[in-house]
Each structure stands twice: as C-alpha cells, then as structure tokens.
C-alpha cells in the first residue's frame, strides 16, 4: 500500500488513528497495530507475509538463544540469525544477478522469476541491527514476541525505512503514549510535506526524467543535462517525501522515528552529504560494517579500503546491477579522494567545494537512475557530443521554468525552514495549504516510490 494512495490516506490511516484513539490498553494497541501492519504489508504480495513471519520467529527465537549462550555457541546463533537474513536477501535480490554474470563466464545457473518482497532490504537490515545490538550486549533480547514482531512490521517504516535501531523504537513500542493532539498535528504536517514532495515535486519531475532516460539515444545535450538535474531532485523529493510521510504517520501514532534526511544538497563535502542523506542506512553501514572493519583507525590505506568496500556494499544494497555497484564505487572513490586532499575537521564551508560535491553527486545519480550501463553511457554521450534532439519530451517551457525554480527554491525553503515557521504560527492553515498544493500541483498517477524497489 502506498502512502500517497487513496486507500492509505482515506481509509487505512483514519482507521488506524481511530483505533489508536479508541483503544486504551497498550497490549491492545500493540496487537491492533501488528494486525494492521500485516494487513498493510499484504496489500502488495500477501503470500510473502508468511516469509516475513518466519523470519521474525527465527530471529526472535535465535536471539533469545544467543542471549543465553557464551563463546562459540553465541557466535553460532549470531550467524544463524544473520545468515538467514542474508540468505533471504541474496536469494530474492541477488541470485539472478550472480547467476547471469556466472553464466556469461560459461556456467549454467538457473534464473528465477520471483517477485521481490516489498521492503526486503529494509526489514532484513532492521532485523540484523537488532541481532547485532543484542550480540554486542548493547540491548537486551526482546522477550515479548508481539513487540518484536511489531519492531519489524511497524507499517510506517517497514517498506522503505528509516532502518531503525532497537534502542530508538522498542522502548516506544513498550510505552505507546496515549492519543495526543500535538502529535496528531505535527504528524499531519509531516505527512502533508511528504505528500507534497512526492506528488508535486518528485512525480512531476518524473514526467521529464522518465522519457529522457527512456529515449537517451535521441535526446539533446540540454535535455540530458536537465534530466540529470531533475533526477537528483526527483530522487531526493521521492525518498525524503516518503520518509516524511513515514515519520508523520508514526508520529500521529505517538512513535518518533529517526530523521532520515537533513538538507543533503546543502552539504559542503561528500562526507557531509552522507551525514545528511539516508541517515539511517549510512549510520547502519558505519556502525555495523565500517567501524568493525577498523574504520579510520588503521591508517590511510586501510581506511580507504574500508570506505570503498562499504560503498560497494551500499551500492549493491540499492540494487543488483553493475550500475548500482559503480554508483557506490564512485561515491567511495570520491570520499577517499576527499579524505586524501581535504581534512574534514579543518574544512569550513566553501562554495567551490560545495559545487564540486554536488556535481559529483549529480553525476553519480546518472548510474543510479540508468536501467543499464549502456543507458548511462548514452546519457553522458548526449551531453558530451552536444547532439541535436530527435525526441520531444512533453514538458512545456513554462513547466521547465517552474521545475528549475522549484529546484532552486526547495533547498532554500529547507534552509530557512519556511514551512516549519509557518506551521509554528498557523498549524492548521499550513497543513491545509500544503495538502491543497500537493493535490493541485501533484501527479498522482506515477505509482510507487523509487526506494520501494530496494
């Protein structure tokens, strides 16, 4: 079920809120929320709920057993839990990629046509976060199966994050504050902002970006450059819009999720960018991969290697394809270069560095958006060869100007916190205004969120 669908906005969410208001006992609330979350998940491919429940049961039981053991046996249970998550992810998401590439080298591995379960990468990472935190004794094993299941299945963040940590969310699922008007208003405000970002920004820009990438062999240099620029804002508006809607929905239910974006296009360096973009995933990789590998404590070569490895894995997390791997690798190379040439601690904001950073990010997005390496090559070729267009993208001049102004206004509005200031003065009017703008300028036919595919 999509956050921008009528089913969610006009049926599911009001129903959840009414239940949240109506039920007083915390157990009842948790149970109702668990059932509704399962229902939410089943809107896409219902049969996968059994897979997810199986994984929840395995992790729940495995972690309790791990918690009781010491030494090798503890490690055994750790790897059983991590292994089952990784195996599930690998079999659904990566098997075809591995098999196709092995087959190119002469192997004869079969391919499958399984549909990827919604949000698989997100909830497996959230499960692994819980397993690792308990293993490290940073968090006790959850004894209440209902709460653990809700930790994984909690619908606002189950399908596309934020990838939560047990420390943040489990205590909240134990307490469940009563219905609160302030939470409701703030949640509605975040939901409205998210909807605006998704429908009026991301899906509007998609009307230019999608045909441009689809006809990359026929578009002009200007069209290709505009498509690249628009995509960088499309993906930001799409994903941050989703995250805002997730945060808003959770807030209305009294749960505060972690912030996932902090004005990434104002970042003055790549390091800074990754502190602001998809924060829940970046910190996941930092805490569970980069630091255990040694982080930056073992010299420049080892830390460079660690960075490259982490970003390769991050690229692979986003998608099973060479273009995603290259996207990750390029970010890794950018960070290594940045560490080599600049010291982040000494760096003050510089416009030149900001420009280089954002240009690098924008170029990397081309690999992320392209459906193949050939598609990406054609986009760059369109820019470099300065060719004429033989394809008309149906996007009127005034719409292009409006989109460019939007790309300029968006970071400024975020920097000056325009919406937040308006909300603090006139909460209800701000919410109504943003919802109205989202409806009148929004494109509601674009379908899913970009990050749902991961």
């Amino acid at each position: 079920m999509l956050f921008n669908s009528a089913e969610f906005l006009f049926l599911f969410l009001p129903f959840c809120l009414l239940l949240h208001f109506f039920l007083k006992s915390r157990v009842q609330k948790a149970l109702a929320l668990l059932l509704l979350s399962a229902w939410f998940y089943m809107a896409a491919f219902p049969v996968y709920i059994f897979l997810l429940l199986g994984l929840i049961a395995l992790d729940y039981g495995g972690v309790i057993l791990m918690d009781r053991c010491k030494g090798l046996l503890r490690k055994f249970w750790l790897w059983i839990c991590l292994g089952s998550n990784i195996a599930l992810l690998a079999s659904f998401k990566y098997w075809n990629f591995i098999a196709e590439n092995c087959n190119l080298l002469g192997a004869d591995l079969p391919l499958h046509s399984w549909i990827l379960p919604v949000g698989l990468s997100f909830h497996t990472f959230q499960s692994m976060s819980y397993v690792l935190e308990v293993y490290r004794k940073a968090w006790p094993a959850e004894r209440n199966l209902l709460r653990y299941a809700l930790y994984i299945l909690f619908f606002p963040q189950m399908v596309a994050g934020p990838v939560e940590r047990p420390q943040n969310i489990l205590p909240q699922l134990h307490q469940f504050p009563p219905f609160n008007r302030a939470d409701l208003m703030e949640g509605l405000f975040m939901l409205a902002r998210g909807l605006f970002m998704k429908a009026a920004v991301a899906d509007r820009l998609a009307l230019y970006v999608n045909p441009a990438f689809e006809h990359s062999a026929r578009i002009s240099a200007t069209q290709a450059m505009l498509a690249m620029l628009f995509f960088s804002f499309q993906i930001y508006a799409d994903f941050s819009g989703y995250s805002n809607m997730a945060l808003g929905t959770a807030r209305m239910l009294g749960v505060r999720l972690m912030v996932n974006f902090r004005q990434p296009y104002l970042a003055g360096s790549l390091t800074d960018f990754w502190r602001r973009w998809h924060i829940s995933l970046s910190t996941w990789f930092r805490d569970y991969l980069y630091i255990p590998l040694g982080g930056n404590r073992k010299g420049i070569f080892r830390s460079s290697f660690n960075l490259l490895l982490v970003f390769l894995v991050s690229g692979l997390w986003h998608g099973a394809g060479w273009n995603f791997l290259l996207w990750g690798l390029l970010h890794g190379i950018g960070l290594v270069a940045e560490n080599y040439f600049f010291s982040d601690k000494q760096a003050s904001f510089s416009w030149l560095r900001w420009l280089i950073t954002q240009a690098w990010v924008l170029l990397c997005w081309v690999f992320f958006r392209a459906v193949s390496m050939e598609n990406a090559r054609q986009m760059f070729a369109a820019v470099l060869r300065l060719r004429e267009s033989t394809y008309t993208i149906e996007f009127a001049d005034q719409e292009i100007i409006a989109a460019l102004l939007l790309c300029l206004a968006l970071p400024l509005a975020e920097y000056y916190r325009v919406q937040e200031k308006a909300f603090s003065k006139q909460p209800l009017a701000s919410i109504v205004l943003i919802f109205t703008a989202a409806y009148f300028f929004g494109n509601f036919n674009a379908g899913s969120f970009l990050y749902f595919q991961f």
């Binding site: 669908s5 049926l11 009001p14 129903f15 009414l18 009148f440």
Partner: protein, 353 residues
Amino acid sequence: MRIIHFTSLLLFFAMYLLVKIPGGILWLKPWLPDLYGMGDLYRFSYLAEYRDSSFHLAPPPAVPETNTCLFVLGDSFAGPFEKAHYPGTAAYSFVNWNQFPNWKVALHTDKSFRNLFLIECSEKHIQLRFSDGEFRKFLSPAAGKGEAGFQLEEKRSGFSANLEKWTGRPQVTDQNLHMLLFSNEAVLQIKETKAAMNRLVFGRIAAEVEEFPEKKMLLQRMTTDMDYMYMSAFRPLSKEKEDEYVRNMGSMVKHFKALGVDSVAFAFIPNPVSVIAPDYKNRSYNQLIPRLEQRISETGAGCISVFDEFSVKKEKVFRRGDTHWNVSGEKIWLEKAHKWLRGNLSDMAKEAQ
C-alpha cells in the same frame, strides 16, 4: 463521545469491507454516479468540456424468431447490445475477450438451427489479439451440453490467489474507493478545476489522452503515439505482420467452424483518429483495418465493415470524451450487422430449398 468514535470506527470498517471485498462496491452501484458513462477519456483527464452521458441505441422493433443463434466474441463496443438489438435471433450470447480462458461455447445442436459467430474487435486491440503468441488463447473448447451460448466457468483459485483477492489488489481497491468517495459532483468540480488549472498554467493534461482542438474531442494517446507498438494507428505495419494476422484470423475461423459454427464474420471498429484524422500531426495512418478487410475472404469469414462509412461521417459517429462510438455510430454498425444476419437467413432459406 465514545459512541461517536465507535460509530466512526465501524463506519470506516464497513467502508473498507465495501471496497475490499470482491464485487462489494457493486452493491452500491445504483446509487453511485457512472463515471465511465461520462466518458472513458473524460475519466482520465477530467476536462469539463468533454464530460457527457452515454446513451445506447434502443432495440429495433421485434420480429418473429428465426432458427439463428448469434454468438459474439467482442469488447466494449458490442458489449452493451442485447438480444433485442438483433431481432429474429433465437439465441444470443456475448463474451468479452477479457474473459478468456474461462469460456466455452455451446452451439445449438439442432441441425435446423444456424450458429453464427461474430468476432468484433476494436482496432487498437487487433494486433495484440491476432498475433502469433496470443490468438490461440481465444480458441475456446466446445462445451459438452447445455443451452446454446457462451458458458463461463468460475475460475478456481488457489490459496495464494484467494489471499490476494481479499487483502491485495491495491489498484482495484483504489478504484473502488474513488468510485465510492470521489465521483460525486462536488469532487468532480474540484478535479475539473485541477485539470483546467494544469492545462492553463503548464499546458499539461492527463498522459493517457491527447486533445484534438480542431474537432473539440479527446483522443486516446496509445492510438496516436507511435511509441505504442501494437496500439498505435500510425506505427507502420509490415507485410509480414499483416500476413500473420490474416493467417491467425483464418485459424480462428477454421477452429470455430470445426466446432460446428455455420458462419463466422469479423467486425473491426476503427479508432476515432484512424477515420477522423488519418494524417494526424503529419503522421500517416497504417491502414490496418482496410488492409485486413481486403483480405478477409482468405480467412473464409464474412466481414461487417463500418470503416468507409465512419471515414465519411468522421467525428459525428464518436463521443467527444470517450473512445467509443455514439448512438449514430451504433446505428451504422447495427444496420451492417443486421444485413449480415439477413444474408445468413437467405442462405438458410436457399439451403432448405
């Protein structure tokens, strides 16, 4: 206060059930506005000037029944007609292409009856339905027994499909919800304001349609845009493809005749753009219908052609905000269909002599 909340909770739950249960929304259909009737292209675009209501031609006066049974495999063009629209037929049965593979055809077993089979297809679907990969789907088996007509079988679905039917299908749920909550006049006014504003400010209308201002009508984009491989009226059609469709049409005729059908006819309903503006935006119409109709005799079937007459009458036979014909178009088609039926009756008479 608690009672109010409890009531609203129940109300939402009931609403949820209505839009989620397969067929649930149908219970309310008599009280809901007919959005499709306002125009299927209007429904995409919500441009106020293209909203109208659908009317169907009233059946002609009844005549005594003859020993003919008419079976129509068709789509939304022939769909709204009933037995009374084909006077003189003893039995009439319609099945939509979309209902495959769950239909079987039971022919009249009495030798004194003539089983007539009409295959009606809108132009935008011809290339898909008669292509090598597809046409076999529509070769239904003969039903063993029963009254003459198409027999639909309830598809038996497995656990997974049943689960999906009750919990999944987000698009169907959304559609039902729109029908329930957002098809009333007040909401339509808001939708029309949005559509008008987007057209005025950004020159943008719904992606599914194109506005044809000279004729003050909407066209379906998949018929005008050359990117649509099968549906576009302007994508060049190779001789090999034409041969393929004619060959497969012939195979269909053979199949139904082998089942016991006495006579088969094809009827291709042109896209509005194919007859109104075959040179639309300096493109040139691929002549799909004229090319196939010219070779229908090779298939062993008859032909109910409206193409020439529609080409003369142009926009007068189509609705402005819909892909379908208006009452005038229906009238022309029915006249042609009656002529084909009468031809079969006179054949019968000759055979009897």
